[in-house]
């Protein structure tokens, strides 16, 4: 239990209808090496408890990327994700941690470079803010 919260890998959860497709186009970009990327059916699948559990088990930060809000394949998923990420961030604040360890982005399947930038920006943020 001594592991510092920010030593592990970054976990990115990508909605398979948008962000995952964007990722596949740039999948082996060397810049993304060492980042755990997995697809999820919809950002609406994400739940605050899961996000916190990932952090607890050593994830350096969790980035959830879903479809643009009005464009979610499952209609409500991105809205639900927004609320649940907010719950997880509130929990982090309460735990005295940086709420930005969990981040949510919305983008479409064509936004490969935006995805890359989002991941790298998150990585940069975590590197800059990692606890000593």
């Amino acid at each position: 239990m001594k592991t510092s919260v920010r030593t592990g890998q970054i976990t990115t959860l990508l909605c398979e209808n948008s962000a995952w497709k964007a990722y596949v186009e740039i999948g082996l970009d060397p810049a993304l090496q060492g980042i755990d990327v997995q697809k999820i059916p919809c950002s609406g699948r994400v739940e605050a408890g899961l996000l916190l559990a990932l952090l607890e088990r050593g994830s350096a930060g969790v980035l959830v990327v879903g479809c643009p809000k009005d464009n979610c394949t499952y209609l409500q998923g991105s809205y639900r994700a927004e609320k649940r990420v907010a719950v997880a961030r509130a929990a982090l604040r309460e735990a005295g941690l940086d709420e930005n360890l969990v981040r949510l982005e919305f983008l479409s399947s064509l936004d490969s470079f935006r995805l890359r930038d989002a991941v790298l920006d998150f990585k940069r943020y975590l590197d800059d803010h990692s606890s000593s």
Binding site: Q9, G27, I40, G44, R45, E47, L50, L54, Y74, R80
Partner: protein, 487 residues
């Protein structure tokens, strides 16, 4: 582990399929370059190898990954794949009967097209007598309404209420698909902002052409679109048409106020240009214009978005498009059919994935004014789209459903109804016998929204359990899991 040169090419797929068959494998993990991540790759191997796609996973290894790094990636994917259950396929016969609600232009056209494709079609209309006649393979019931729509896509049970209020009767019928093509009620032209002779409905303006002699026409006539909600091409067409008529027949000034000129249709742009050349003024407004009428005339105030300032227009007569007034679709019908409505009360949520004719329920289609499309050529196209979608669905005769839908653990379910309320697709219901929530495999879209909402953590999406997702991230699942002993 089987090494191969190129996994993404047909040889690679054939190689994989051969190994699966030779070794009698039921799961397969493929590691390679990013090409194997593309949509459909696992499905192609699945077809070639004869094992379910859910048992196949592909992971991409970076070109310069160290062997330790590669091993780590493969280990995680392997751990997750180990946890992946094998999904059965259910074969569900599709009813070849179709229900169409509403006998307007959209409904009648759809019903005729569907009947012509050989499906027994029932058209119901709430107002008697129906304008549309019965035909071969097509029954028309009126007055008749849809009281409820339950069950599974492909075999929905509809309760139809026929006959007049109070003396009618209810019948239950099974339909493979449902098309809702209701109109929306017309706006009340006796209520604000209307005022007789001063502020009239745009649809009544044409009536004035014959009745009203030229000397009675005021100097300026205003036509207002998008009064409270954005309108479509139908309104733009009607407005431009009327504006031109007033300009050309009576030589009066005409100002058309609208949020946006919606002219993206054949001939409409040309008509719009013609009106501008004829001297019709177009003012683009934001928000809702204010209309005050008095004995002297009508004053319309609004924000002119082009000038960026508030303007007042005084005219002798204002014609307001009733389509711009908020006229909600039949909320009883929406509730009975389980269709979500948008912010304007239209029977289709504002989401591009639903356009043009899909709804939040599988096998239930919405077209025409009730979904907010009133432009006639579009309505007819909608009708064809709906008929085509019905045919695409029902012509399969048998629906193959992979049983990877959300699963409810009856021991944990507290019957709180959260999943029933949050599922966008009406896939969750309460199983009264088992006393637990239950997911309808045919309706479930495997999004996992219910999983995230369930306060009892009673729902899992078997292909995306916490355990599988944790394994993919290289972690063990939560060490302490609750929920013990129930019912």
């Amino acid at each position: 582990m089987f090494p191969s040169d190129a996994m993404c090419v047909p040889e690679g797929i054939r190689f994989a399929a051969a190994r699966v068959k030779a070794e009698k494998l039921d799961k397969l993990l493929i590691a390679g370059c990013a090409a194997i991540l593309h949509e459909g790759y696992c499905e192609r191997i699945s077809r070639a190898a004869g094992i379910p796609a859910s048992g196949i996973d592909a992971v991409a290894l970076p070109a310069r990954a160290s062997s330790a790094e590669a091993a780590r990636i493969i280990r995680r994917a392997h751990a997750a794949l180990e946890l992946m259950p094998r999904f059965e396929i259910r074969r569900v016969p599709l009813s070849q009967e179709v229900l169409v609600v509403g006998d307007g232009q959209a409904g009648a056209q759809t019903a005729r097209e569907i009947a012509a494709l050989g499906y027994r079609t029932t058209l119901i209309e709430k107002d008697a007598p129906a304008a549309c006649a019965a035909a071969r393979d097509m029954e028309v019931l009126s007055p008749a309404t849809l009281a409820s729509l339950d069950g599974r896509p492909g075999a929905y049970t509809a309760r139809l209420r026929t006959g007049r209020e109070g003396e009618g009767q209810e019948t239950e019928c099974v339909f493979g698909a449902v098309v809702i093509a209701e109109g929306v009620p017309g706006a009340d032209t006796r209520a604000a902002p209307f005022s007789p002779g001063r502020v009239i409905a745009l649809s009544d303006l044409e009536g004035c052409f014959e009745r009203q002699p030229r000397r009675d026409w005021p100097r300026l006539v205003a036509i207002v679109l998008d009064f409270c909600i954005d309108e479509g091409r139908a309104s733009t067409q009607a407005a431009v048409h009327s504006a031109l008529a007033v300009r050309e027949r009576f030589r009066r000034q005409v100002t058309v106020l609208l949020r946006d000129a919606r002219v993206a249709a054949r001939g409409l742009e040309a008509l719009y240009d013609q009106a501008r050349e004829a001297g019709v003024t177009f003012v683009k407004h934001a928000g809702s214009p204010r209309i005050r009428s008095s004995r002297e005339g009508v004053v319309i105030s609004c924000r002119d978005t082009v000038l960026g300032e508030d303007v007042e227009i005084s005219c002798g007569l204002a014609a307001v498009s009733v389509d711009g007034l908020l006229a909600r679709a039949d909320s009883c019908l929406a509730a009975a059919a389980g269709i979500e409505v948008d912010g304007y009360g239209r029977l289709q949520q504002n989401n591009v994935h639903l356009l043009p004719e899909l709804s939040n329920r599988q096998g239930v289609f919405v077209i025409g004014a009730c979904r907010g499309e009133a432009y006639q050529p579009e309505v007819l196209r909608d009708a064809r789209d709906a008929a085509f979608s019905v045919h695409t669905l029902l012509s399969q005769k048998i629906l193959k459903v992979e049983l990877s839908h959300a699963v409810v653990d009856g021991d944990r379910c507290a019957l709180c109804l959260t999943c029933v309320r949050v599922c966008p697709f009406k896939a969750m219901r309460i199983d009264e016998k088992e006393k637990k929530a239950d997911c309808i495999a045919e309706s479930c879209r495997r999004c996992g929204i219910c999983v995230g909402e369930c306060p009892a953590k009673a729902i899992t999406l078997p292909a995306y359990t916490d355990a599988i997702m944790m394994a993919r991230a290289g972690m063990a699942e939560r060490p302490t899991i609750g929920a013990v002993g129930k019912r």
